[in-house]
């Protein structure tokens, strides 16, 4: 177990370095002079040199990468040129709406998805099961921004129940303003949850120990919750962790649809303005988040399932 943890953490460290290196290299792939691109046609050569020097672009590459890493680890991300303030303060201002939206969307997907998966698994290969499958296929095929707009038309504009843009104040205000985007986000994630959970539930229900538990006279409820669900849920947790990248993507677009001042909007603005240091930082943070979440679920899996041995990763 100890050896496994060390090895698994080692893999993540290598991945984090890779993520940082990849993001770092982006700016060097920009055709022409990235600083000139960024500052626009009216910038004087002197300004360009000044900004290049301030970003450390005049130093040799290995030294630049080292400084980049040091700054990342110490959370000194530097200045954003277009916003005229430090990147860390920009991120702290914008991080809460995005995290709230992603969590809310995940909750929506779980609340809808888990019962659907259980029903589909219990009634496998019946009309109910097919109906669930069709429903999740439809929800998967809908573009999130489009389902967001449709929800906005129905529940925002026609019925007037919920706001269609902005970010409310206080807990109630936040929940109200994030409900529609969270439903759109949750629907896009639904198919993944339902299909993964359904198939692992089916797999687990066919195992002999479930029959043995029923033979002992346990109630269906008890067998399902204590013996089937707990053992079948791990692949779904893993998939959820992997899906965070997917959710971040949905958030970037949905924040635009509903005018939410989150990290997605920030990234969008940074891309539009070609604010390379900001794009670079956001990309590293997003990548690191995914790497760390994957690490977390793998370690969780190792504690939940005693069979996970060093090197043997079974799903």
């Amino acid at each position: 177990m100890g050896a496994y943890v060390v090895r698994r953490i080692g893999i993540s460290v290598v991945q984090l370095l890779g993520v940082a290196f990849f993001a770092f290299m982006l700016i060097h792939f920009v055709p022409g002079n990235p600083i000139a691109n960024m500052l626009g046609p009216r910038a004087t050569p002197r300004e360009i040199d000044l900004v290049s020097a301030r970003l450390g672009l005049t130093k040799p590459l290995p030294q630049q990468f080292w400084l980049f890493l040091v700054h990342l680890v110490t959370f000194h991300f530097g200045q954003s040129i277009t916003f005229g303030q430090s990147i860390s303060s920009l991120i702290t201002q914008r991080v809460v709406p995005s995290i709230a939206l992603i969590s809310y969307g995940t909750i929506v997907a779980i609340v809808l998805g888990v019962p659907l998966a259980v029903i589909a698994a219990l009634k496998a290969e019946t009309a109910t099961d097919h109906a669930v499958r069709v429903f999740t296929s439809v929800s998967f095929a809908m573009p999130t921004f489009w389902s967001g707009l449709i929800l906005a038309i129905i529940f925002g504009l026609k019925l007037g129940w919920l706001p269609v843009s902005g970010y409310g104040a206080g807990f109630g205000g936040i929940v109200r303003s994030l409900t529609l985007p969270a439903i759109a986000l949750g629907l896009s994630l639904l198919a993944v949850i339902v299909r993964t959970l359904r198939s692992s539930l089916r797999h687990t229900m066919a195992l002999e120990y479930v029959e043995a538990a029923r033979a002992r006279g346990f109630t269906t409820r008890r067998v399902l919750i204590r013996h089937v669900f707990r053992n079948a849920v791990m692949p779904t947790v893993t998939v959820l962790a992997v899906s965070v990248g997917f959710l971040i993507g949905g958030t970037v677009v949905l924040e635009q649809v509903f005018q939410i001042p989150g990290l997605g909007t920030l990234l969008f603005q940074a891309v539009e303005q070609r604010d390379y240091p900001l794009v670079e930082t956001l990309a590293v943070l997003a990548g690191s988040l995914v790497v760390l979440l994957n690490l977390g679920t793998d370690l969780l899996q190792a504690t939940v399932d005693p069979r996970v041995r060093p090197g043997a990763k079974s799903v």
Binding site: G18, I153, G287
Partner: protein
């Protein structure tokens, strides 16, 4: 030896069986999916002949008309025919999504097959690059590439291929690792075939199936990403149209002209459903994003 001889025959038989079950409509997922996608592809190919108007023809007098006999899907805020724009938009999106998805598949499967076959430093280096690419959220990396290349479908396409190959690499690499040990590949070595022949003539046809099945999920995801970025204004640039940008253009008229936004979304959704059904029909199982 018998393996070498029987494999292609079995493959042909499987395709024949799929085709027969299609004709008999036993596999309703496959037949429905194929019909949906065939109609969409035909409509896109024949857009110049079907479209009643030029997609960019402005006609201010007829702006924001509801669907009618003259304009099946209504008109937009400058009077362009939405049906014609959707047809041409679909043409663009289908072409782009097919090219980038299968470009990614070809790159990924080729590298994965070689990597799994020869192993060593090549495998180690490419494997780490793939791990890194997969760690990034898809859209974030595509956006970063757009920031470098500039807005437009070119940047979006490059971004998606840079990310997309990695999963096919992983899939085909792990299949190759298993296959390398199987008798019929060993036999090719014993027979003195070259490495290239062993890989491409004998291993590749057998391991590409998994990747092709996965591509039915990937195509849908890519389509949605392309549409999303076009919606954000970073994909297809005006006056050209694709489904995402048409949806965006209707956003200011959600209440007065619902058709501009709604209809292209339904078309996107039908595409996703059609492709997913084909995937379900092929596997008849539970292959999802999660089983990777």
């Amino acid at each position: 030896m018998s393996d070498l001889a029987t494999r292609p025959v079995m493959k042909r038989r499987r395709i024949y069986r799929l085709w027969r079950s299609f004709l008999r409509a036993q596999n309703w997922e496959l037949s429905t999916g194929l019909v949906i996608i065939a109609i969409m592809v035909l409509a896109a190919l024949l857009a110049p002949y079907i479209a009643p108007y030029h997609p960019n023809q402005i006609n201010i007098v007829d702006s924001l008309q509801a669907p009618s006999w003259h304009h099946w899907m209504g008109t937009d805020f400058v009077g362009r025919d939405v049906f014609s724009r959707v047809l041409y938009g679909l043409r663009v999106d289908l072409l782009v999504v097919a090219v980038i998805t299968y470009l990614g598949l070809i790159v990924g499967v080729t590298l994965g097959t070689i990597s799994g076959y020869i192993g060593g430093w090549f495998d180690a280096v490419i494997g780490r690059v793939a791990d890194t690419v997969i760690a990034f959220p898809f859209i974030v990396l595509v956006l970063a590439v757009v920031a470098i290349v500039g807005p437009g479908l070119k940047g979006v396409g490059i971004g998606i291929v840079i990310v997309g190959w990695a999963l096919y690499f992983r899939l085909s690499r792990s299949e190759m690792l298993v296959m390398r040990e199987q008798p019929f590949i060993m036999a090719t070595k014993a027979l003195g075939y070259s490495h290239l022949r062993a890989i491409f003539r004998h291993a590749l046809p057998n391991l590409i199936r998994t990747s092709l099945v996965y591509s039915t999920v990937d195509v849908v995801v890519n389509m949605l990403v392309i549409a999303g970025l076009s919606y954000l204004g970073l994909g297809q640039q005006a006056p050209g149209a694709d489904l995402g940008s048409i949806i965006a253009s209707g956003q200011s008229y959600l209440l007065s002209a619902w058709w501009i936004t709604t209809i292209p979304g339904v078309v996107l959704m039908l595409f996703g459903i059609g492709v997913s059904l084909i995937g379900d029909g092929i596997t008849r199982g539970d292959l999802t994003l999660g089983s990777l």
